[in-house]
């Protein structure tokens, strides 16, 4: 039968997931005003987490700081400076996330299921069952190395395409561009 404590933990879990989505969107968003609004949403969800963790004095201090003043100050800053954020140069960044995620995947799964796991854990060990098997139906994938190679391949591919695109620009356009930049 559902008790009051399971309900509270359920509220905490849902608040955590909503704050996760809000943070991800805040970082990925290019339009800074939307990013500020998402950070305000994320701060409200954190207030609820503070409340559920029985810290009313912290919540009392945290609300004016995070829901009140941060958006106001940063909106003021955005009004004075630029509103949108320049987009990322190379697309290699996404595959770096791939590497980051495969490195921490075992730990994150371990955190959820409560089993112990190591960072950069390649294959399941005796005391740490979380891990990717060495082979899948006798096709060797050697644990997480497969995913590392995949992300590395993507990063290198995007890097090289960038280089070849730059090399393929005709000479006079580049010269005019450089001389153009010199006058700037």
């Amino acid at each position: 039968m559902i008790e009051l404590n399971t309900l509270t933990y359920l509220f905490m879990a849902v608040a955590g997931v909503v704050s996760l989505i809000a943070t991800y969107l805040t970082i990925v968003e290019n339009d800074l005003v939307k990013a500020v609004i998402f950070s305000a949403l994320q701060s409200t969800v954190y207030t609820i987490i503070y409340y559920l963790l029985m810290a009313p004095d912290i919540a009392l201090v945290y609300i004016p700081v995070s829901v009140g003043l941060y958006p106001a100050v940063i909106l003021f800053l955005i009004k004075k400076t630029e509103r949108t954020e320049g987009d990322l140069e190379g697309s290699g960044g996404d595959s770096l996330i791939g590497i980051y995620l495969t490195a921490l995947a075992a730990v994150l799964i371990g955190l959820i299921t409560g089993l112990n796991a190591y960072v950069f854990q390649n294959q399941p060990k005796l005391d740490a069952p979380v891990g990717i098997p060495a082979q899948v139906s006798n096709a060797l994938i050697s644990g997480t190395l497969f995913f590392f190679n995949l992300s590395e391949y993507l990063a290198v591919a995007s890097g090289f395409t960038l280089v070849f695109m730059l090399l393929s620009i005709p000479e006079e356009i580049v010269r005019s561009f450089i001389s153009g930049e010199a006058h700037e």
Binding site: E3, T6, T8, L32, A35, Q42, I58, I74
Partner: protein, 135 residues
């Protein structure tokens, strides 16, 4: 019923750690200075919440929730204090996080006006273009 509670609390911890990871990525990888400030505030807030989570305790009984660390009676008797000690959440991290939040606000305000100054001098808040102009 208990492992459901453990799983839900683990989801909260998992999302807090993931928040910290994402905001760290935001601080390093995103070019706009304003985005870096927003990511920094999120990272310091996550650290504060993690400090408070450390102070949390298991429920005395499924119906009786832990109470906030505030003794509401004016001159508490020993029995009051005993009951309080058995139910209350740990007050120490709360005291530390209280100052951390306020100082975080002061640091962010300072950063905001630094970025404003950078914009006035260089005409852009994009870190890559600022690096090019040798100023």
């Amino acid at each position: 019923m208990n492992e459901l509670n453990v799983f839900l609390f683990n989801t909260l911890l998992f999302s807090l750690f993931f928040n910290a990871g994402i905001s760290l990525y935001g601080i390093f990888a995103r070019p706009s200075l304003i985005k870096k400030i927003i990511a920094l505030t999120i990272f310091s807030d996550t650290a504060n919440v993690l400090a408070i989570v450390v102070g949390y305790r298991t429920w005395p009984s499924p119906e009786q929730s832990p109470i906030p660390p505030v003794i509401t009676t004016t001159n508490p008797t020993t029995e009051d204090i005993a009951r309080f000690a058995s139910q209350a959440v740990d007050p120490l991290p709360q005291a530390l996080v209280l100052t951390a939040i306020v100082i975080g606000l002061a640091v962010t305000l300072f950063l905001v006006f630094l970025t404003l100054q950078v914009y006035r001098l260089y005409g852009t808040t994009d870190v890559r273009r600022v690096a090019k102009l040798r100023g």
